[in-house]
Each structure stands twice: as C-alpha cells, then as structure tokens.
C-alpha cells in the first residue's frame, strides 16, 4: 500500500515538474518572439527615418516628379500606422515598392545619382533592407519554434488557450515574391 502511495506521489511530482518546465519553455520562446519582433521594428523604423531625407534629396533635383515622391510619403505614413505582422508586411511591401520607384527615378537624373548624399542614402537603404530581411528571418524562425512548441502534443495541454500562436512576418504582395521572368532574344533565322 505504502509503495503504491509513493509511486503515485512520485508520478504527480514528476508531472508537476514537467508542467512547470514546459510552461517556462513556452514563456522563454514567447519572449524570444517578442524580442525578435522588436528587432524587426527597429529595422523598419530605421527605414522610415530614412524616407524624409531621401525625399528631400530627390526633390531638389526632380521636383516635378511629385507623384512618385508623394507615393513614398503616403506609403511611409501607412507603414508607420500599420499594426500586426500581416498588416505591417503589406504596408512595408508598399513602402519598398515606392522606394524602388524613387531609386529607379534617379536613373534619369545623373546629377542626382552623382551626389554624395544620394549615394550614401542609397547605400544605407540597401544595408537596412539586408537587416530587415535578416530580422524577418530571425523573427519567423523564433515564431516557428514557438508555434511548434505550443502545438505539439502533449505540450499543447500545458499551452491551453494562454499561449496564442504567432503570425509569421511574410511578404504580403505576391508580386514581390514572383521570380522575374528573363526572356532571351530568339536568334533570327539566317
């Protein structure tokens, strides 16, 4: 009888220990997700901060291209006010496209391209884009690890409804994901 009681108490203690350890692992994984998300936020903020400088620099040389410049400003405002990974991803894709338009615009203005400030902004923009991609990968990897942890049985019993799955920060616009098509000129018949 005593042995049975000891075994039951030991099993209950083990189950309690497992429950505590599993829950702590969830909390750590969730904090990692939050931390990674704030890393994404920092990099996106750096890009937002760059936009006014870029617009001011381009405006000095291409004032009449107000359509392109206003699109960038609007896209920036939309990106700043967006909430949640999906909405932010969509708004940031729009800002990325608008910024791409500005850089493409500069191709028509050699004097603008030659300025030190534009070159520096362009280099900084490229670097920030790299960091955004890296932050996105870190966040998505953390979110994937966290989601797997809370969804896998029997750990999902501990998660219950207290640990919600995280959304991934994905490219929102299918156009951004599409592989560019490369067409080779057909050889003309001799």
């Amino acid at each position: 009888m005593t042995t049975v009681v000891i075994v039951i108490v030991a099993l209950v203690l083990l189950a309690g220990l497992w429950w505590v350890l599993t829950r702590n692992a969830f909390v750590r994984a969730r904090n990692k997700c939050d931390e990674a998300w704030s890393g994404v936020d920092v990099q996106l903020g750096r890009r937002h901060d760059l936009v006014p400088n870029l617009v001011a620099t381009v405006k000095g040389y291409a004032d009449h291209e107000s359509g392109v410049l206003s699109r960038v400003t609007e896209a920036r405002s939309a990106a700043i006010s967006a909430n949640g990974p999906r909405e932010i991803a969509r708004a940031e894709s729009g800002l990325g496209r608008a910024l791409g338009g500005v850089v493409a615009l500069a191709e028509s203005y050699p004097a603008l391209r030659a300025t030190e400030s534009f070159q520096r902004l362009q280099a900084e923009l490229a670097q920030i884009e790299d960091e955004i991609q890296a932050s996105r990968r870190i966040y998505n990897a953390n979110a994937q690890a966290y989601n797997s942890r809370i969804q896998v049985f029997p750990a999902s019993l501990v998660a219950g409804g207290r640990f919600a799955a995280r959304q991934y920060f994905e490219i929102a616009d299918p156009a951004d994901r599409a592989t560019p098509e490369v067409a080779f000129p057909q050889p003309s018949p001799a």
Binding site: G39, A56, K59, Y61, S117, R120, I138
Partner: protein, 304 residues
C-alpha cells in the same frame, strides 16, 4: 556564404588537404635505396640471427618486424612531406606566405592567453582577402594551448589538457575603445564543461543574449563588464547573427584590445575550410571596423 576556395594554383598543384600527396610520397619513400637496403639487410639479419638460434619464430617475426618498421617509417616521412606540400600550395593559392612556427601570439584575447603552454604551427601570413581595399593583414595558424594538472603556474580556472584550434588573427587597432571585449564561441558541451575547458572562466565577463533563438542555441555570447552592450548588439546586427548561425564552420570570435581572433575547434587540414575561416574573419573584421568607425557627418542639403 563562401563558395569554392579561390585557389590560383593550377589543377595539378592543387592540394585538397594535408593527406592529398601522402600516397605518392609513400611510394617514393619505399622506392628509395635506404628503404630497399633496410629491408634487405634487416630481413637478412633476422634470418641469420634466427638460423643461428635455430628459431623459426625469430626468422619469421624478425623479418615481419623489419618490414613493418620500414613501412611505418616511410609512412611517417610521407605524411610529413604531404603536409609540407599542402601548406606550401595553400599559402600560394591564398596569396599568403609561410612563417616559421612560433610560441604564440601576444596574448591580447583570452583564448590567446589561455593555458600555461601555447604554440602556433603552420603559420600563414597575408592579406585578409585577395583584394582587400583596406590592406588588412591576417595570420592563419594551428593554435594549441595546454595546461598540465600539476603545473605550478596553473590557476584554479585554467583548463587542463591540450586544446586545439585553427585561428585567423587580424589587427583592428581603431576598435579598441568601442570593443573592450566581445567573445562569441560555440556552446560548451558537457565534456568540455567536465574538463573545465573554459578559458573565459577567470575573466570579468557576463553573458549577453540576442533575439535569435538559433544563435542562442548555437553560441555562447559574453562581453566584458566594461563593454557597452549597445555597441556589442550593433556589431552583432541581425544579418551577422543569421550568417553566423548558418555558417558551416560555426566560427567563434574574440574581439579585444584591437585584435580580432576568429577560430574554430580542431586543427583544420583542408583548403576549403581554411578559405571559409579566412572569409569569415574578413566578414567579421569588416563589420567590426564599420561599427567602430566614426559616424559620417550630417548630410549636406541638396544643391541644385
């Protein structure tokens, strides 16, 4: 990520690793007069001695012993020569030069100061990368530090035994004030922990955790107590963290007193991994130099 090693040697000169030419040297060694005379006279001596003692065991055992001895000596000589070939070709292919083996580097980082006995072998010195615009130089070497259990100079925290690394050291003098101490290394396994293989144990350092779970699982990041944590986090930007976590060598690095030491455990002996290590050092040096550089001045207003 690094691609195939950009060796400039011709295909016939290429040595993939330190064993590439060993078989050829072994055959050469067996074809020498010394080996032939040793075999003939050694076996003859065993036969004569065995006959004199009326012992077939001595004849057979002695003969086989002489043959084994000659083969073993030839194998060892071939192994040494193959190593010499490999490092000569590697130095040429990487645009570096061979240096004489040395005791150690100036102990500027904890790894370089670890243990009580330190030595460097197969030293190669040259540019960080072939066309490095900054003209930085690096030193690639096999590094070993060891501490005997009964060494009177051993402190309680010194790791015991022999510990082998391959390292690439680069001088970055202008990073001294911004980076008083950043140490990144693979997580220590249970075996290393049990051996006391922790050369940072006696240092005034504390742990720093980054946002990447993959990096945290793979690496142990510590900074010295006087290190600005923001500067360390800026150095370990997301792109560098992702790159380190996915690097096939999983290189560690130490940045202190203007010296960057990039390392991986074990003595590497193939060209591909050497090139990876140097490329990793180049990338880390570039990041550290960029972060330590003074911020550019404010942008000038556009002038039309």
């Amino acid at each position: 990520m690094s691609t195939a090693p950009p060796l400039s040697s011709t295909a016939s000169d290429f040595r993939a690793n330190a064993d590439s030419t060993r078989a050829g040297h072994f055959r050469e060694a067996l074809n020498t007069r010394l080996a032939a005379y040793s075999l003939v006279f050694g076996v003859a001596a065993a036969v004569l001695y065995g006959s004199a003692r009326h012992s077939p065991a001595i004849i057979l055992g002695g003969g086989l012993g002489v043959i084994a001895l000659v083969f073993a000596a030839s194998w060892l000589a071939a192994d040494r020569e193959a190593e010499v070939d490999f490092y000569a070709a590697l130095a040429e292919g990487m645009g570096m030069r061979e240096m004489p083996d040395g005791d150690s580097l100036f102990p500027t980082t904890p790894l370089l100061a670890a243990g009580t006995e330190r030595r460097l072998e197969h030293l190669l010195a040259g540019p960080v990368v072939g066309s490095d615009e900054h003209g930085r130089q690096c030193l690639l070497a096999h590094y070993t530090f060891e501490t005997a259990e009964n060494d009177p100079h051993r402190s309680l925290t010194d790791p015991v035994g022999e510990h082998r690394f391959t390292l690439c050291a680069i001088d970055l003098p202008h990073t001294t004030s911004r980076f008083p101490g950043v140490y990144v290394r693979r997580h220590q396994g249970v075996a290393e922990w049990a051996n006391g293989d922790d050369w940072l144990a006696g240092e005034r350092v504390h742990q720093l955790e980054l946002e990447s779970a993959a990096f945290t699982d793979a690496y142990d990041l510590r900074v010295s107590d006087d290190q600005d944590e923001v500067a360390a986090r800026q150095l370990l930007a997301p792109s560098l963290v992702v790159w380190l976590a996915e690097h096939p060598l999983r290189p560690g690095f130490e940045l202190r007193a203007g010296t960057l030491v990039v390392f991986c455990p074990g003595h590497l002996d193939d060209a591909g991994r050497y090139t990876w290590l140097r490329d990793a050092a180049a990338r880390l040096a570039e990041s550290a130099a960029r972060e330590a550089a003074p911020a550019p001045g404010p942008l000038a207003p556009p002038v039309v």
